[in-house]
C-alpha cells in the first residue's frame, strides 16, 4: 500500500510532464498531438542507445534535447501546412506516430530493453524500502516543472509564448514572431515528453510501443485539468495516478478482495468521464496561463 502510494506519486509526475507538453502544444498551436506518446518512446529509446557511451545522466541531458530539436523540425516541415485545421492536424500527428513507432522498431528492434538503475540504492522511509532513483525522478520532474514555470513567467520568450496562447492575432500585431513561438512550443513539448521517457526508462521496459500506455492518461489529464492550465494538469496528474495505484487497496474492504489493476484502471477512467460531464471545461478552467 505504501509502496503503491509512492509509485503513484512518481508516475503522477511522469504523466504530468507528458500532460504539460501536450497542454503547451494545445495552448499555442491548437494541435491535439497524437504523436506525443511516440516522442516519449523516442526519448527512452534514444537514451537506451546512448547509455553505453555517455552513461545515464549524459543521456538524460542529450536525448530530450535531440527529441526537442526534432519536434521543432517536424512542426516546421510536417505540421505547418495543416495548422488551423483540427481534423487534419490530428491525422497528421497520428501519421507521425505510426512513422516514428515503425522507424523505432526497424532501427532498435522489437525487444523489450531495460536501462540499469543509475543509482542502484534503496532508502527506507516510514519503514518501507524504496529505490532512491524513483524518488530522484520525482525531484527531477519537480525541477523540470519549476523550470518551465520560471521560463514562462520570468523570461521574455516565455512572455511571448503566453501572449500567443492568449491572443494570436494581437501577439502577431505587437511584433512577436509567432512562427518562432510555434516551433518553440512544439519543441519544448517534445522535450518534456522525451524527458519523461528517459526518466521512466530505468523502471519500465523500453520498447517501440511504450508510448501508448501514457498517451491516453496524459490526454485525460489535459482535459480534466483544464486546457491551457499548467498547474491544473500537474494536480490532476498526481491525483489520478495516486488513485489508480492505491484504489486496489482502498477498495479491498468493499470488494472483499484485491481489485485487479485493470479493473482499477477502468474505474478510474469511468470516474474521469463523469468528471468531464460535470465540469466540461475542466476542473480549474479559470486562469489561462501557458
Amino acid at each position: 500500500m505504501g509502496f503503491a502510494a509512492l509509485n503513484g506519486f512518481v508516475w503522477g509526475f511522469i504523466i504530468a510532464l507528458m500532460a504539460l507538453g501536450l497542454n503547451l502544444i494545445y495552448g499555442i498551436l491548437r494541435i491535439i498531438n497524437m504523436a506525443h506518446g511516440a516522442l516519449y518512446m523516442l526519448g527512452a529509446v534514444i537514451a537506451w542507445s546512448l547509455v553505453p557511451f555517455i552513461g545515464f545522466w549524459g543521456a538524460l541531458i542529450v536525448a530530450p534535447l535531440l527529441v526537442g530539436t526534432f519536434g521543432a523540425f517536424i512542426e516546421r516541415t510536417a505540421l505547418r501546412p495543416v495548422e488551423g485545421q483540427p481534423t487534419l492536424t490530428i491525422v497528421a500527428t497520428f501519421a507521425l506516430m505510426l512513422i516514428l513507432q515503425q522507424a523505432a522498431l526497424m532501427l532498435f528492434g522489437s525487444g523489450q530493453q531495460q536501462i540499469a538503475d543509475p543509482i542502484g540504492r534503496s532508502f527506507s522511509l516510514f519503514g518501507l524500502s524504496y529505490p532512491a532513483y524513483r524518488l530522484s525522478v520525482a525531484l527531477l520532474a519537480v525541477a523540470a516543472v519549476a523550470g518551465l514555470w520560471l521560463f514562462l513567467q520570468r523570461t521574455r520568450v516565455g512572455r511571448w509564448v503566453r501572449a500567443v496562447s492568449s491572443d494570436r492575432e494581437l501577439a502577431a500585431g505587437l511584433g512577436i514572431p509567432v512562427p518562432v513561438v510555434y516551433g518553440l512550443a512544439f519543441g519544448l513539448g517534445s522535450y518534456l515528453a522525451a524527458l519523461a521517457g528517459v526518466l521512466v526508462a530505468p523502471f519500465t521496459s523500453v520498447d517501440y510501443l511504450m508510448g501508448f500506455d501514457v498517451l491516453i492518461p496524459a490526454f485525460i489529464v489535459v482535459i480534466v485539468g483544464g486546457r491551457g492550465n499548467l498547474s491544473g494538469s500537474l494536480l490532476v496528474a498526481i491525483a489520478m495516478s495516486e488513485m489508480e495505484n492505491t484504489l486496489p487497496f482502498l477498495a479491498q474492504p468493499l470488494w472483499g478482495q484485491l481489485l485487479q489493476p485493470t479493473v482499477a484502471r477502468a474505474l478510474m477512467l469511468a470516474l474521469l468521464i463523469v468528471l468531464l460531464l460535470l465540469r466540461p471545461q475542466g476542473l480549474f478552467a479559470k486562469q489561462t496561463t501557458g
Binding site: 474521469l272 468521464i273 466540461p280
Partner: protein, 327 residues
C-alpha cells in the same frame, strides 16, 4: 460518354461483377480451392468495408472524429458470442441481442460523448473503448479475454432456405448482400433532410445552431446510426469468423476505420470501401516479404493525404473528374 451515364453504369457494372464473381473466377480457370480463398478474402473485406463506411457517416458527414468506433463493432460481436455461449441463445436471438446491445451502448455513450465540447469527443470515445477493452480482458474467464472464444454458429435459418456459414460462397453472398443494402440505406439517409443537416453541423456548427437546428441531437442521432451499422459489421464478423477476442476492441481497430476512411475519401461512403480494399490488399501483399513495412507505409500515405489531398483518393479523383468535364 457523359458523367451521368458513367454514374449509373459504373455501380451497375460493379454490382454485376461482384454478384457473379464466383462464376467469373471459375471462368478464368481458378480451381474451387483458389476461388474459395479469394471469396473468403473478399468476405473479410466486405465486413471491414462496412465498418469503415459506418465510420464515414460520423467523420465524413457529421465531422465527428472518434477513436472508439471499435466499441460498437465489439458490442455486436460480444453480444452474439456471449449470449450464444452462456445463455444458449439461438442464432437469431443472439443476433437480436447483439444488435440491441450495440444500439443501447451507442445511445448511452453518444449521450455522453456529444455533450463534451471540443476535442472531448475524441477523448471520451477513446477512453470508453479502453474501458471496455480492460473489462473484457479482466473478465477473461467469462469473455475469453485476449485468448478469444470460439462460437459455433453453423447456419442461419431463413425459413425458405438455410444459409450455411461454413461455406465460402454463402458467406460471400451474405456479406455482399449486407454491405450493398447498408450502402443503400446510408446513401439514402445522406440525401434526406436529416443527412443534409449532418453536413451542416460538419460545415458550420455555430451557424446550424443559429438557424435553429438541434445540433446536439443531430450529432447524437448520427452517432447512434453510425454505431448501429458498425455493430452490424460486428454481427457479420462473428457469423463468418465464429470467433471473438479482446483485440477487436483495441483502439487500433478504431484507428483503422479512420485510416481507411481518410485514405479512400471521407464524406463519400464508397471511398472508405475503396480505402479498405486497397489497404487490406496491400497489407496482404506486403505481409509476405516485409510485414513491418505496412504501418510505415500507412503512416507516410496518411501524412501525404493530410498535407496534399485531404479529400482522399475518391474525393480527389472526383474533383479531377469534374474539372475534366468542365474543361
Amino acid at each position: 460518354m457523359t458523367g451521368k451515364a458513367l454514374r449509373v453504369l459504373i455501380p451497375i457494372g460493379g454490382l454485376l461483377l461482384l454478384g457473379f464473381l464466383p462464376q467469373i473466377l471459375g471462368l478464368f480457370g481458378l480451381s474451387a480451392r483458389q476461388t474459395a480463398f479469394w471469396l473468403a478474402l473478399l468476405t473479410q473485406l466486405f465486413i471491414w468495408g462496412l465498418f469503415a463506411m459506418s465510420y464515414d457517416l460520423l467523420l465524413g458527414y457529421t465531422g465527428l472524429l472518434s477513436l472508439g468506433h471499435a466499441i460498437f463493432f465489439g458490442l455486436g460481436i460480444y453480444g452474439v458470442a456471449l449470449s450464444t455461449l452462456h445463455w444458449g441463445f439461438s442464432p437469431w436471438e443472439a443476433l437480436g441481442m447483439g444488435l440491441a446491445v450495440t444500439i443501447a451502448g451507442a445511445a448511452m455513450i453518444g449521450a455522453i460523448a456529444v455533450r463534451v465540447p471540443g476535442h472531448g469527443f475524441l477523448i471520451v470515445t477513446a477512453v470508453v473503448s479502453l474501458i471496455l477493452y480492460l473489462l473484457v480482458d479482466a473478465e477473461s474467464g467469462w469473455t475469453g479475454g485476449t485468448n478469444g472464444v470460439t462460437v459455433r454458429l453453423p447456419q442461419l435459418d431463413f425459413g425458405l432456405f438455410h444459409l450455411s456459414l461454413f461455406d465460402s460462397h454463402q458467406g460471400y453472398r451474405l456479406t455482399l448482400g449486407a454491405l450493398i443494402s447498408s450502402y443503400g440505406v446510408l446513401r439514402w439517409l445522406t440525401q434526406t433532410p436529416l443527412g443534409r443537416a449532418f453536413v451542416l453541423v460538419r460545415e458550420n456548427e455555430p451557424r446550424a445552431e443559429a438557424l435553429g437546428y438541434p445540433t446536439l441531437r443531430l450529432k447524437f442521432i448520427a452517432f447512434v446510426i453510425s454505431g448501429t451499422f458498425a455493430g452490424l459489421a460486428g454481427l457479420l464478423y462473428v457469423l463468418i469468423n465464429q470467433f471473438a477476442e479482446a483485440q477487436l476492441l483495441d483502439w487500433t481497430v478504431s484507428a483503422n476505420a479512420l485510416i481507411w476512411t481518410l485514405i479512400g475519401g471521407s464524406g463519400t461512403l464508397s471511398g472508405p470501401l475503396l480505402g479498405t480494399g486497397l489497404l487490406k490488399l496491400f497489407e496482404h501483399i506486403l505481409s509476405g516479404w516485409w510485414p513491418q513495412g505496412y504501418p510505415l507505409f500507412v503512416g507516410l500515405l496518411l501524412l501525404v493525404i493530410a498535407l496534399a489531398a485531404p479529400r482522399g483518393l475518391l474525393g480527389t479523383l472526383r474533383v479531377l473528374f469534374i474539372r475534366g468535364i468542365q474543361r
